[in-house]
Subunit: 128 residues, 2 copies
């Protein structure tokens, strides 16, 4: 299949596929006229990339998964390098979620203080 069909079947764009190719992530064979040619296995690779992207992985982080699939494994996440990325990502997520929760708490407190119960300030006699 050609690039347009692959893009459509993966729910992405031709530009994205060319970008992946430029990064060496999803190389394509070429037909006689120079058109990129893909098969079902490329679709599988692409879907792996897209899934991880949706999870917030950046492109480089998807590479081990793609290489794992290309190495013949039925799943991209069974190789050691992929597992390492998973673990690192979990740590990053935990750290990030923790930070966001801390920020959320601070903002929530500030909102409560500023909103209706500024313990000492509001007593000054504001109109609003």
């Amino acid at each position: 299949m050609r690039i347009g069909e692959l893009a459509a079947r993966a729910g992405t764009t031709t530009r994205t596929l060319r970008y992946y190719e430029s990064r060496g992530l999803l190389p394509a064979r070429r037909s006689g006229n120079g058109y990129r040619t893909y098969d079902e296995s490329d679709l599988k690779l692409l879907r792996q990339i897209r899934t991880l992207q949706d999870f917030g992985f950046d492109l480089e982080e998807t590479r081990p998964f793609v290489e794992c699939l290309r190495a013949g494994h039925p799943e991209g996440d069974t190789c050691p390098a992929s597992l390492a990325v998973y673990r690192r990502k979990l740590d990053e997520l935990d750290a990030l979620i923790g930070e966001l929760q801390a920020v959320r708490a601070k903002i929530g407190l500030r909102l409560a203080l500023a909103e209706g119960e500024p313990p000492l300030c509001e007593l000054g006699g504001q109109e609003l």
Copy 2:
């Protein structure tokens, strides 16, 4: 005080201050020689901006707080527009945290499956 001192006292850079000024967020008076001049109130505005930036607010979102302070309020977050930004930010944070937790769960599951206990797949007789 001049730009270098203000930057130092707020723990930021002159470049950042000029950037804020270019965004209309922190305009400066000028002394005879063309140098930017700031006073203590500017430091307060700047600290408000920095605090919110640390919380992950983008610059535009800090504007209501700055204008609130400039309007004479002792705190930047007591004005309606600021409160609105707080609330919106809380919603965004809740949504984001929720998404991240969902992603975390999915990755955790995939890791568990790929790691040692693929409930059905491993039974196929893989070596790894």
